[in-house]
């Protein structure tokens, strides 16, 4: 039958991109740049192999059966025999998935535990602590030990563990730097923890994956991994040049806007840690009101209005658009 040939051809076509997936190394998730992301990628590839086997077995059986037992004009319109089922076979296709589940569960659990802690090989080093505060629609990074705060970009030393203590000033976001590791939510009144390491200096793409309103698509940031020396230089430079963050300025930052990068010489943790409540003080529902129809593509407009009063840090004037986070 013609339809069936088409079906079969289509099935083959379908498997091809899937097969390619495993080898496709351009994809960001398959291109880890740090130990945490690497262990996730390993787990993913391990699972894909199993899944491919399952897909191939099911597709092959399916193709074979549908082809072999198709109705034909010359089969005398026979009536197939009734079959009750076969205990042995049913036990087999019950047990095989059980085994697969066990086989997947072991590395899954191992990896889940592994990525909760400082990555292997870095246990001895004292992690750099960075507080992440997400707001609509920007990322605020505070370095309490360095007494620095940045907005929409993140500088970290390469080859050194970083501990992120994450919270949100309002809506829920998810902090994700796929090349360095998996994501985790940031929530008001709560603190979540994430460890990441970048193998080498480089620029990595980070973004929010948890939808939080109009500016969500633009809520990305750049992670710059610097050599330890460069990192120290940067810290020094910020201390020499950046402005001080005031509480007023801070509430302005927290307003729902898409803004560029900023750098400050102190952190907002001096007056509030959103992990411990108090965020409502900065919220103003009126700023979230939408007027239907009179849409002015606010996101873009806000963006072009570059901040003028932050310091002259070299990264500051770059727009925080995703253009500079191309990862290919």
């Amino acid at each position: 039958m013609k339809g069936f040939k088409k079906l079969f051809g289509w099935l083959v076509m379908l498997t091809i991109p899937f097969l390619l997936a495993g080898c496709e190394s351009n994809l960001i998730v398959f291109d880890p740049k740090g130990p945490v992301a690497r262990s996730l990628t390993d787990l993913i590839i391990f699972s894909i192999i199993f899944m491919l086997v399952i897909v191939i077995v099911v597709f092959a059986l399916f193709g074979y059966i549908v082809w072999k037992y198709r109705a034909r004009s010359d089969d005398g319109n026979f009536e197939p025999e009734e079959e009750k089922g076969n205990h042995l076979l049913e036990i087999i296709w019950f047990t095989i998935p059980v085994i697969i589940v066990i086989a997947l569960m072991i590395p899954t659990t191992k990896t889940i535990y592994e990525v909760e802690d400082v990555p292997q090989g870095y246990e001895e080093e004292e992690p750099l602590v960075i507080h992440v505060t997400s707001a609509d629609w920007k990322w605020i990074f505070s370095y309490p030990d360095q007494d620095i705060e940045t907005v929409n970009y993140l500088n970290i030393p390469a080859d050194h563990p970083v501990q992120f203590k994450m919270t949100s000033a309002g809506t829920m976001q998810s902090f994700w730097v796929p090349e360095l590791g998996g994501q985790k939510y940031t929530m008001a009144n709560m603190q979540t923890n994430l460890f990441l390491v970048a193998d080498r200096p480089g620029s990595y793409y980070g973004r929010n994956t948890s939808f939080n309103g109009k500016g969500y698509a633009h809520m990305d940031f750049e992670v710059q991994a610097l050599s330890q020396d460069d990192f120290n230089d940067w810290v020094q430079e910020v201390h020499d040049t950046a402005n001080t963050l005031t509480e007023e300025k801070y509430s302005e930052i927290l307003e729902p806007t898409v803004i560029g990068r900023m750098t400050f010489n102190n952190t907002h943790l001096e007056w509030i840690d959103h992990a411990h409540g108090g965020s409502e003080k900065y919220l103003n529902p009126e700023l979230y009101r939408i007027s239907h129809g009179h849409e002015d593509h606010e996101g873009h407009d806000e963006k072009s209005e570059e901040e003028t009063d932050s310091n002259e840090d070299q990264t500051k004037t770059e727009p925080s658009q995703s253009e500079d986070h191309a990862h290919h």
């Binding site: 339809g3 549908v66 899954t108």
Partner: protein, 648 residues
């Protein structure tokens, strides 16, 4: 509130739709008036309690909602087809994916499945109707009122825009102060009450109204899956009822269930939502499994392989579906132990699902497979759903999910589950049971067009999403820059969605064509079926069976045919008791809709005044002692002679 805020204004796209909606409404009303059909509509449809008519109304609404949700999908695909397009702005995109998600799951998948359940289940168990016909009508009308209220948001007040999951704090009044998310809370509540009533109705129907001799292990598999689905509905929907009530209280009355301030806990919403939400996806997928089983057995001309293990598998899936909700927020910072446990329970769902896939394959094996359109859908389901399934297992592995969560990979996955699992099933069911509903078949040739366009379009649309997801594109992004390198995948996907839409258009054309031209001479059993619905006329008479059939094994009708046992003796006929039509269901639903609308705008006085209607409806219902009527033996015999010829 100024009129300017009341009506959504400004955007030409919306203005055009508003005008189109307005004109369609006026046109419809004028047409009905012109044809003098109001009375007919009222008597035959609006007040009907006949499960088949209610089913058909569900199906019509579902198809309309599929159109609306599909247009939403296409608009999104158009917007992301090229980088930095400004076809839709962020706000519109947000509203559209929210309404798309809600409409597709609650107002497309649910009514289409419940519609088919309504038409088929009483027939398959040899019953005259469901246990509570009037409640059944109320279920439908409440669903319809909820759906309409939800859709009104598009023109009046503004659509919800916090995603179909409406996560707090975003969905709270601090962050979305408009009325959009009030619509979400209230419209879904109204529709949800209807669904809950459907669940109760089908549980009782299946327990109490099976034909004599139809023991549990002789139930057609679709009845089993409906039964278990109904139990999940009863167990899961009240959770959503409570969650939506909290949402309403937070938004309308300033309470602090889910707020950031004053001791609210937004994560409570996430837990409640998914405690309902995950079972909900099984509520839509399990009946679909049942339909595929029926269609596959019929067109392989064999009994279902491993019937018992199929039943246990459905029960197992239903049970596990209650224990997996945390997999929707592995990334919330749960302890490693919690994430491990929920990874395990989630992956375990793959086991009974795998059993089902193999049982279907072995039903086909040694059969004589006929490629009717209904069968093509069921066949295509197997490979497509397998892809959805294996990617589901990948997502179930918590650590790996840290990289997929909320990306397009997830979007691709759930469309690969929901479209083969629900939409293909609904199409299979429509082609299969169409003659039983309307007395003519859908055209098989146009059906093949529908099938190939849709299946190819579907794969083209959603396969690339796996890859952009793995490439770091998160879901719900209305735009992206060219440097991301996603444009190729998304452009391809957008083309796929046009083919998909062409497939849907072919279905609509098929319905039109078949309605006009298809042969009305299909007989009672056009597909050589196995179950009782084929034992009665097509379309099924309002009393379903002149004489309730007796069942002595699984696939009873198949053996009745073999034993030449399908005739009807006039002496066996007895008068048939039928329920009367009732105005209370539609009346109550309209009042619910009106009260809901007032609540959306927080016009409390009006809402309270309108609620008097609810009291009136309930009191009238309580005092209603109408016992229905009887169809006499003579009438039965006449109607039966029409399709059987002379009675024995």
């Amino acid at each position: 509130m100024s009129l300017d805020e009341f009506f959504v204004t400004g955007d030409p796209l919306i203005l055009a739709s508003q005008i189109a909606i307005g004109l369609t409404m006026i046109g419809l009303i004028a047409l009905i008036t012109y044809l003098k059909r109001w009375k007919w509509l009222w008597n035959e449809w609006f007040t009907t309690v006949d499960h088949k008519k209610i089913g058909i109304m569900y199906i019509i609404s579902g198809v309309l909602m599929f159109f609306r949700g599909g247009v939403d999908g296409l608009l999104m695909k158009a917007q992301t087809s090229r980088p930095e397009l400004e076809f839709l702005d962020a706000q519109h995109y947000d509203e559209i994916f929210t309404t798309h998600g809600v409409i597709m799951i609650l107002f497309m998948a649910m009514p289409l499945l419940i519609g088919l359940m309504n038409v088929v289940i009483p027939l398959q168990i040899g019953a005259r109707d469901v246990a509570f016909p009037k409640l059944n009508a109320l279920s439908f009308w409440l669903f319809f009122a909820g759906a309409m209220l939800f859709n009104v948001s598009f023109v009046i007040g503004g659509s919800p825009d916090a995603g179909w999951t409406s996560y707090f704090p975003l969905a709270g009044k601090e962050f979305t102060p408009g009325v959009g998310n009030n619509y979400y809370a209230i419209a879904l509540q109204i529709a949800g009450i209807g669904t809950l009533a459907t669940g109760i109705n089908f549980v009782v129907t299946i327990i109490k109204m099976r034909a004599p001799g139809m023991t549990w292990m002789r139930l057609p598999i679709f009845v089993w899956s409906t039964f278990i689905t109904s139990i999940i509905i009863v167990a899961a929907f009240p959770i959503f009822t409570v969650a939506l009530a909290y949402m309403t209280l937070d938004r309308l009355f300033g309470t602090h269930f889910f707020t950031v301030a004053n001791g609210g806990d937004p994560m409570l919403w996430l837990n409640l939502f998914w405690l309902w939400g995950h079972p909900e996806v099984y509520i839509v997928v399990l009946p679909a499994f049942g339909m595929f089983s029926e269609v596959i057995a019929t067109f392989a001309r064999k009994n279902l392989y491993g019937y018992k293990s199929m039943v246990y598998a459905v029960a197992g899936i239903a049970f596990l579906s209650m224990l997996v909700w945390v997999h929707h927020f592995y990334t919330m910072g749960n302890s490693a132990a919690v994430n491990s446990i929920f990874s395990l329970t989630t992956m375990m769902i793959a086991i009974p699902t795998g059993v089902k896939i193999f049982n279907w394959l072995f039903t086909l094996r040694k059969g004589r497979i006929e490629f009717s359109t209904a069968m093509l859908w069921s066949l295509a389901f197997i490979p497509c759903f397998t892809i959805g399934g294996v990617t589901g297992v990948m997502l179930a592995m918590a650590a790996a999910d840290y990289q997929y969560h909320n990306t397009m990979f997830l979007v691709a996955h759930f469309h690969y589950v929901l479209i083969p699992g629900v939409v293909f099933a609904v199409f299979a069911g429509l082609y299969y049971w169409w003659p039983k509903m309307f007395g003519f078949k859908l055209n098989e040739k146009i059906g093949k067009w529908h099938f190939w366009l849709f299946v190819i379009g579907f794969n083209m649309t959603f396969m690339p999403m796996f890859f952009v997801g793995l490439d770091g594109m998160s879901r719900r992004m209305y735009t992206y820059s060219a440097s991301t390198g996603w444009a190729g995948w998304l452009g391809f996907s957008a083309i796929g969605s046009i083919i998909l839409a062409a497939g849907f258009a072919a279905l609509c054309y098929n319905i039109y064509w078949s309605f006009r031209y298809a042969s009305r001479d299909v007989g009672n059993d056009p597909w050589n079926g196995r179950t009782l619905e084929w034992a009665t006329a097509s379309p099924a008479p309002h009393y379903n069976f002149a004489k309730v059939p007796e069942v002595d094994r699984l696939d009873a009708y198949w053996y009745m045919k073999k034993e030449g046992n399908t005739g009807l003796k006039k002496s066996d006929l007895k008068p048939v008791h039928m329920p009367s039509n009732s105005w209370t269901p539609i009346f109550l639903a309209v009042v619910f809709g009106v009260v809901g609308f007032f609540l959306v705008f927080e016009w409390f006085t009006l809402a309270i005044l309108a609620s008097i209607g609810i009291v009136v409806g309930l009191v009238a219902n309580s005092f209603d002692y109408d016992d229905g009527y009887h169809i006499s033996v003579e009438e039965l015999a006449d109607e039966e002679r029409e399709w059987r010829g002379d009675l024995q």
